[in-house]
Structures are given as structure tokens and as C-alpha cells.
């Protein structure tokens, strides 16, 4: 039975990764799961300098999901390279670094610094809905996405995955722009912009007023967008959005994702990632699937 998948020339032992921002750099969850069992760890977004993020409250629970407006708090690339990359190198898993920035130059600085490190792949965050500058501003207009993708591709030494926002009118237009600009793959979906109001206090549940919705509540939206994107482009798609079980993950694979990522459910059940890895194998055994690649995009 083969569970390996190859994305932009990088071989993952299985198609299960972590969604950026839900797993740190793996340190906190290494208490719960053996990181060696994961296909890859996708890190929390890292910028050229430390970002302090948004005021609290930053999180709020919603029906079957949650809103967050962390605001990409991160220690900056220098601390990240000294601490987080060596930590992840101890494990037999692929390292995918999520890169964020306020300007294209910020992204390029991080991408260049990561060029000579042991990082396997870059995921470019052009879809965070919770910061005022950068991030989603680059990911909601096809021409902006094309521009930043091509400039990053010109400097990057690792394969580049563009992480797309669902907060757009036509996801296929964005997927095609990333592909045309030379992206090696795309990942989707980031969170859906949402809002919650505390009716007892008559105030917003989040200090940022709006936040990104994640968790099982968004899964059908994510599956639909992965399906649409996978049919619009030839580059590989990494699918995510509300994955809680192996069955959810298989749904994304069938819709056209070459790999999947577990996000908010890490917060709910810290063992979700490894349960999904093992559950996909169980599914393959049950249905006599020899190679996980046979599942990818097989529901047309």
C-alpha cells in the first residue's frame, strides 16, 4: 500500500500536514503526537520582523467552528531560523514554512533568508483576513496575486505554494493567476471572514470585530472550492478547511487535493493529525486502494 504523494518534486510520506497557524512549529503538539508520523508540518506564518498581533479577545467559538483574529503574531524570521527550523529538523517529516508580510519586500526578505535552509517548501500567506496591511490584500485581486507570486518565484529556492483565500468571487480565477505566475502549487482554503456579537455585553466577540471562521462548519465550502480549483489548474492543490477525521480528508482527496491539512481541529483534539493518517490507511484497506494517488481527483 502506498501512501506517498509528491508535490512539486517534494515527496511526503503521507498526504497529511498541519494547517498554518494551528500547530505552531510543532513544539507544543510534540507532547501529543509523534511528528515523524506526519507527511509535513506547515508552520505558523513568519514575517521578516516580529509581529505582535491583535488585541484580545482573539478567539471566539461559533456553531461547529471558531473565529480567530490572532493577527499573525510571530517572532520574525531570525528567531525562527535559530529555533524552529532546527527543532523540526530532528524529525523525519517535511518542513513547509508559511511566509507572511506587509509588503512584497517583506515576503522576499523571508523567502531569501530561507533559501539556504533545510526547509522543503514555502507556503505564501496571501489570505490572512486579520491584518490590515499585506496578506489578504495580495490574494483578493488576480493581478496582485500574479505579481507577488512571480516576484517570489524569481527569488525562491524552494517550491512555492500560494495559500488562497475563500473570500473571493471566483476561486478559479485566483488559482489560474497563481499558476500563470509560476506557482508550484496552491493551498486552500484559508478562513472565511466572519463576525460574532455578544448579545449580553452588546459588543463584538473579537477585539478585531471580524475574524476568520474555521472548523467543521466550513468544510463543505472548502471541498467545493478545492474541487473547483483542482479542475481549473494543473498544479497540485493542498486541501484544508474543517478536517476532523480521515473521512473528511478522503473527501478532499477525492475532490482533487493532492494532500490535506488539519487546522482548527488540532485545538479540539490534539491527536487529530495522526488519527487522520491512520484513518486514511484504514480507508484504503477497506476499499482495496493500493495507492493513495488513485484517490486524488477521482470524483469528477
Amino acid at each position: 500500500m502506498n501512501t506517498k504523494v509528491t508535490i512539486a518534486g517534494v515527496e511526503f510520506k503521507n498526504p497529511v500536514m498541519t494547517a498554518s497557524g494551528t500547530f505552531g512549529s510543532g513544539m507544543e503538539y510534540s507532547d501529543f503526537v509523534d511528528l515523524n508520523e506526519l507527511g509535513g508540518v506547515v508552520t505558523k506564518g513568519v514575517a521578516n520582523i516580529p509581529w505582535e498581533g491583535n488585541p484580545v479577545p482573539r478567539v471566539a467559538e461559533t456553531y461547529g467552528g471558531m473565529l480567530n483574529a490572532i493577527g499573525l503574531q510571530n517572532p520574525g524570521i531570525d528567531v525562527f531560523m535559530e529555533r524552529d527550523i532546527p527543532f523540526l529538523k530532528q524529525y523525519d517529516t517535511k518542513i513547509v514554512v508559511n511566509v507572511c508580510g506587509k509588503s512584497v519586500e517583506d515576503y522576499l526578505e523571508v523567502v531569501e533568508k530561507l533559501g539556504d535552509t533545510a526547509v522543503d517548501m514555502l507556503e505564501i500567506n496571501v489570505s490572512c483576513p486579520n491584518v490590515k496591511e499585506g496578506a489578504i490584500a495580495f490574494g483578493q485581486k488576480a493581478e496582485c496575486l500574479y505579481d507577488i507570486t512571480s516576484r517570489i518565484k524569481a527569488k525562491a529556492k524552494q517550491p512555492v505554494i500560494m495559500k488562497l483565500s475563500p473570500n473571493v468571487t471566483d476561486i478559479t480565477e485566483m488559482a489560474k493567476a497563481a499558476e500563470a505566475a509560476g506557482a508550484d502549487g496552491i493551498s486552500l482554503i484559508n478562513t472565511l471572514t466572519g463576525m460574532k456579537i455578544d448579545i449580553h455585553k452588546r459588543t463584538f466577540a473579537l477585539a478585531n470585530k471580524t475574524g476568520g471562521l474555521s472548523g467543521p462548519a466550513i468544510k463543505p465550502v472548502a471541498v467545493r472550492m478545492v474541487y473547483q480549483a483542482a479542475h481549473a489548474v494543473k498544479i497540485p492543490v493542498i486541501g484544508m478547511g474543517g478536517i476532523a477525521t480521515a473521512e473528511d480528508a478522503v473527501e478532499f482527496l477525492l475532490a482533487g487535493a493532492s494532500a490535506v491539512a488539519v487546522g482548527a481541529m488540532n485545538f479540539v483534539n490534539p491527536y487529530t493529525t495522526v488519527e487522520v493518517v491512520r484513518g486514511i490507511e484504514d480507508y484504503m484497506k477497506k476499499y482495496g486502494v493500493e495507492d493513495v494517488n488513485q484517490l486524488i481527483g477521482s470524483v469528477k
Binding site: 497557524g21 494551528t22 500547530f23 505552531g24 507544543e28 503538539y29 507532547d31 501529543f32 505558523k44 516580529p50 509581529w51 505582535e52 498581533g53 484580545v56 479577545p57 482573539r58 478567539v59 471566539a60 467559538e61 456553531y63 461547529g64 467552528g65 471558531m66 480567530n68 490572532i70 503574531q73 510571530n74 517572532p75 520574525g76 528567531v79 472548523g215 467543521p216 482548527a264 481541529m265 488540532n266 485545538f267 479540539v268 483534539n269 490534539p270 491527536y271
Partner: protein, 261 residues
């Protein structure tokens, strides 16, 4: 490895001890390592409510392998917990957070201050301090005469009560008790609403003593990964280097001098 895990638990007993305040004992292996000031995440059974609810540990019974949680109904999740009967199976995430520094302060005259639903963690703290031979004074503040945990606390130290409406004890807050009863703490350990903790931080600064305060914030993961529950710190935090400590892992207990509240 910190030994954190998500694990099963069984409700041993449950009763209401004041309006909307419940007292629940749970059988769980987490009792083996739990300490004063730490907390656990309690999972609602209703799967539309996904996140574990952070609840402070009120008491640890290692012999029975049980934890006592005293909590207030704050929404649908805790509302569901209050309906649980003995035998109910649930799950806990824990043990989470750093806890109070007990051994380091056993030789000092410790004053514990609890306000409202910040009172429960004072019980295990008073118990552990007494076990270490410390002289413990406990000051607890309530809104009105609906007191809870007072008799439990009296086993471990001298207890003074403040009520906002003056119906029991000193009319006012926990700091009013210190003035009225002429209590001079060498170290303070506190949990309660933010205005109370701010006042304790100022008091400790003026008296040049150490105050350990337990903070609360909306949290998601409980293990330091999501960066949801941060508080401003006076120095660069070791995780993100931006003066934001994670309440769930760097706290919930902080030296009041270290946080900007």
C-alpha cells in the same frame, strides 16, 4: 514531554453550591500531576461546541485519582456540564498551565485573595501551602451573601470575607479587608476579576512585595500553539519576542510585575 494529554474522565459527584456555581468531582488520571493554579480543558458533549473549556483546579485528591472543579455557568458549554450526573463520561485536556509557586513561598506569610469565580483555585493552593508549613491567610470576596467554599477554606487558614453589598463580612473588596483587619502580607497570591487583580498589582508595588496573579482570557488550544490567549508583558516574551505571554502556557499565574494589565 510535559505529560499533557487528552484523556477520559468520569463524573463522581455534582452539586450546585451557589446560584450558577457548581461543584463537580471527576475521576481522572490527570489528578496524579495536577497542582494549585493549574487548569484543565473540559469538553462539552454537544459537538457543535468544539473547544475545551478552561476550568481551574479547585482541589486534587490523589488517593481517589480525582479532581474537583468549581465553575460558574457562563454559556452553553458550562451549562451542559452542570447537567452531568455521577457516572457521566467526558474528556479532559490537561494538566495545563504553570500553577502557583508553592514551595518557594512556604516560609513567607502568604495571603491568598480570591474574588468570585476566582475563589476555587485558592482551595488547593491553601492546602498545598499548609502542607508545606506556611501560615496562610485567605481573603475571599463575593457579590452578596451567596457564599461558597468558605468552610472548605477554613480547614487550611484564617478566612476573611468581603461582600460588595456588605451582607457578610467587610463591605467592599478583598483589599478593604487587608486595611480593616490590619493584615500585612509578605506574598500575595490571587485570582479574580481584572479590576481586583489590577488593584492587587498596585498594592504589591506600593508595599514592595511580590504578588502572583492568575489571569484569564478566551483561549482555543490551551497548549500554547494558537496564540489566542495572550497578555501584555513588561519584558519580551520568550515565544514571539513581542511582549505577549501566552496565558495558557506561560501562565495563567504571573508575577504581577511581569504583566502589563
Amino acid at each position: 514531554m510535559s505529560g499533557k494529554k487528552k484523556t477520559g474522565a468520569i463524573v463522581l459527584s455534582q452539586r450546585m453550591i451557589a446560584p450558577d456555581i457548581y461543584d463537580m468531582w471527576l475521576k481522572t488520571e490527570l489528578a496524579a500531576k495536577a497542582a494549585a493554579g493549574q487548569f484543565v480543558g473540559v469538553y462539552p458533549g454537544d459537538k457543535s461546541h468544539l473547544l475545551p473549556r478552561p476550568i481551574s483546579i479547585c482541589e486534587v485528591d490523589r488517593q481517589r485519582s480525582a479532581l474537583r472543579l468549581v465553575y460558574r455557568i457562563a454559556g452553553a458549554g458550562t451549562g451542559e456540564f452542570a447537567s452531568w450526573q455521577p457516572g457521566q463520561e467526558t474528556a479532559l485536556l490537561g494538566v495545563l498551565g504553570n500553577g502557583f509557586p508553592v514551595k518557594e513561598n512556604a516560609h513567607r506569610k502568604a495571603v491568598l485573595l480570591g474574588g468570585g469565580i476566582g475563589i476555587p483555585p485558592m482551595l488547593e493552593l491553601a492546602k498545598e501551602l499548609k502542607e508545606q508549613g506556611a501560615e496562610v491567610t485567605i481573603v475571599i470576596g463575593y457579590r452578596d451573601d451567596k457564599l461558597f467554599l468558605k468552610e472548605d477554606l477554613e480547614q487550611y487558614g484564617r478566612v476573611f470575607v468581603a461582600t460588595e453589598d456588605g451582607s457578610v463580612g467587610v463591605k467592599g473588596n478583598v483589599l478593604d479587608v487587608l486595611a480593616k483587619e490590619d493584615i500585612c502580607p509578605e506574598v500575595m497570591m490571587a485570582c479574580g476579576p481584572m479590576p481586583m487583580l489590577r488593584a492587587i498589582k498596585r498594592y504589591a508595588q506600593e508595599k514592595e512585595i511580590t504578588a502572583y496573579i492568575s489571569l484569564e482570557e478566551r483561549m482555543a488550544c490551551g497548549v500554547g500553539a494558537c496564540l489566542g490567549c495572550v497578555c501584555k508583558t513588561t519584558h519580551k516574551d520568550h515565544h514571539s519576542h513581542v511582549n505577549n505571554a501566552r496565558i495558557c502556557t506561560d501562565g495563567p499565574v504571573f508575577d504581577a510585575r511581569e504583566v502589563d494589565i
